[in-house]
């Protein structure tokens, strides 16, 4: 037998069933994409849908726990969502006075200042602490850039007002979508599997199972880590006597979902607010120290125990993906780019594994 004939020829095999499946799947994907495209003009449905998917992944273990105690799926979903609504309402009632007070003080602080007065304060701080910067060129450059930044910050603050209407719609849509995703999610998955040609049935079931496991573990783990970081940040800032500790803690927790940059972004509001409130650059030091300590606890205790090395994405790829996601889709892109990269990575890995193990993807073996 010659060496050439021994070499296995690998050809991707497309049959009629597969082409039909591709056509059907393509039509469904096109239809969904068209729907998403139409709806994404207002952003009123896509964002709630993504949040509902995340929420349903988070709440599913609770629903399963109730099912284990003999409750039907629908009853379990209703009970979990009702309990969540009661919990949120109670938290809001308890925390509303604190949050309102923090917002009022914060808005008072911003309203009493104009970009010009904030700039003057900043100039005075720079003169006092960094005298070597006292060069007309440098001062002009810093002033120009800071003015533009503050102006854009204040403008974006005003832009929040018209977005209250979509927020109200989202508040109705998210629980509604979460309910149906929790109740009928399994049936939707089964219906998707029913569309697959027989050749690809077992292989796709394997693939979907892997993606489901990895994504669910990642989202649940990430949420738990964010909750820990947010609580630690709020507790540390409260101990240091820093104002608005609850708000800063919440921002730090949310920002922590963005790898590498998240912890820095989470610390910035705390540093700025403390420096502005105390009028001294030295006020930044305790906040930086607190966030460094939290980072250390996260790296050594929290993340390794909760997340493990679940997605194994290379740091270089993480940075590229974060910048691309942020550039293309804004904050949602920043938050979702890593899970989406994770899905793509698991899919590619699983496809390669399937290619090696399933005969339907090979011929001439």
């Amino acid at each position: 037998m010659t060496q050439a004939s021994e070499r296995r020829s690998v050809v991707i095999h497309f049959d009629r069933d597969f082409l039909f499946f591709l056509l059907k799947a393509g039509l469904v994907v096109l239809g969904l994409a068209a729907l998403a495209w139409i709806l994404s003009f207002s952003g009123m449905v896509l964002t709630p849908l993504i949040l509902a998917i995340v929420l349903s992944i988070l709440l599913n273990p609770l629903v399963v726990m109730l099912e284990r105690r003999g409750l039907g799926r629908t009853a379990a979903v209703v009970l979990v969502l009702s309990a969540l609504a009661v919990l949120l309402a109670t938290l809001l009632t308890l925390l509303a006075p604190v949050i309102t007070h923090e917002f009022k003080t914060l808005s008072g602080l911003v309203q009493n200042e104009t970009p010009a007065t904030l700039l003057e304060k900043l100039k005075a701080l720079l003169h006092q602490h960094l005298p070597w910067l006292n060069h007309p060129g440098i001062i002009a450059q810093i002033t120009g850039r800071t003015e533009a930044f503050i102006q854009s910050l204040l403008n974006s603050g005003f832009q929040i007002l018209p977005s209250i209407f979509p927020v109200a719609i989202a508040l109705v849509l998210i629980p509604f979508m979460t309910f149906f995703l929790l109740k009928d999610g399994r049936r939707l998955k089964k219906s998707f599997i029913a569309m697959l040609p027989n050749h690809y049935f077992e292989m796709t079931v394997h693939l979907l199972h892997k993606i489901d496991c990895q994504l669910s573990n990642y989202i649940r783990g990430q949420m738990l880590v964010s909750l820990c970081i947010g609580s630690l940040a709020a507790a540390a800032l409260a101990l240091l006597g820093i104002p608005y500790f609850l708000l800063i803690g919440a921002v730090a927790g949310l920002a922590n979902m963005i790898p590498y940059f998240g912890p820095i972004v989470g610390a910035i509001p705390g540093i700025i607010l403390n420096v502005v409130a105390k009028g001294s650059l030295a006020a930044a030091l305790p906040v930086i120290a607190a966030f460094l300590l939290i980072r250390l606890i996260d790296d050594t205790l929290i993340s390794p125990n909760i997340l493990g090395r679940s997605l194994h994405i290379h740091p270089l790829l993480v940075i590229i993906v974060i910048f691309t996601g942020g550039e293309m889709f804004g904050i949602m892109g920043l938050l979702l780019c890593i899970p989406v990269t994770g899905i793509i990575k698991v899919t590619i890995q699983q496809l390669v594994w399937n290619f090696r193990n399933y005969r339907c993807l090979r011929s001439g073996t």
Partner: protein, 183 residues
């Protein structure tokens, strides 16, 4: 089609004849024989109904398995070395028979190839769904696993009996062969 049906389907719709057939069939399968009506409905919600054409391969020997198949309609052939020179038919399965049950318990490869003999309809119960069910309904899960264990124990006992018979017959066969070959 079924995705669209799921999305647009009436929440209050009744169950069709196919579902009733599947339910009756599941009841007759030894693996699910000890289950109550509600529990059978739970299994019925999990199974995937697949239609195969004549000669279509259900799974290949050596491929990773994901679950068990129950023959709802038609005939299935189980082969070793399928489509090769040494092809050997191991069994022919009919409505109510099931195959591939080892894949429910272990992440190993299929030990034979299953092929549709004529147009057939199968019900597939896959490994991730079974473990999700065990997580959600442990009592039902225990019933299923114990039924599966019973079935495997019965098969092991039969295999042992076959082996015993083979060992008993082997010396006699060897003697007979030696007698024939010696001058």
């Amino acid at each position: 089609m079924s995705t669209i049906h799921s999305l647009w389907g009436n929440v209050f719709k009744g169950r069709n004849n196919v579902d009733h057939d599947a339910s009756r069939l599941l009841q007759e399968i030894p693996l699910f024989s000890g289950l109550r009506k509600g529990e059978l409905r739970e299994i019925e919600r999990l199974v995937h109904r697949r239609l195969y054409k004549d000669g279509e391969v259900i799974f290949w020997e050596g491929e990773p398995g994901v679950g068990i198949y129950i023959v709802q309609q038609g005939e299935v052939g189980i082969y070793k070395e399928y489509a090769k020179a040494g092809q050997k038919e191991l069994a022919r399965l009919h409505a109510g028979d099931f195959f591939g049950e080892m894949a429910l318990l272990e992440d190993d490869c299929r030990s034979a190839t299953a092929v549709a003999l004529g147009e057939i309809c199968l019900l597939g119960l896959i490994h991730p769904d079974l473990f999700d069910l065990i997580d959600r309904k442990p009592q039902l899960g225990v019933k299923l696993l114990s039924s599966l264990a019973n079935m495997l124990a019965r098969r092991l006992r039969l295999t042992n009996q076959d082996l015993q018979r083979l060992f008993q017959d082997a010396p006699a066969a060897a003697k007979h062969r030696d007698g024939k070959t010696s001058p």
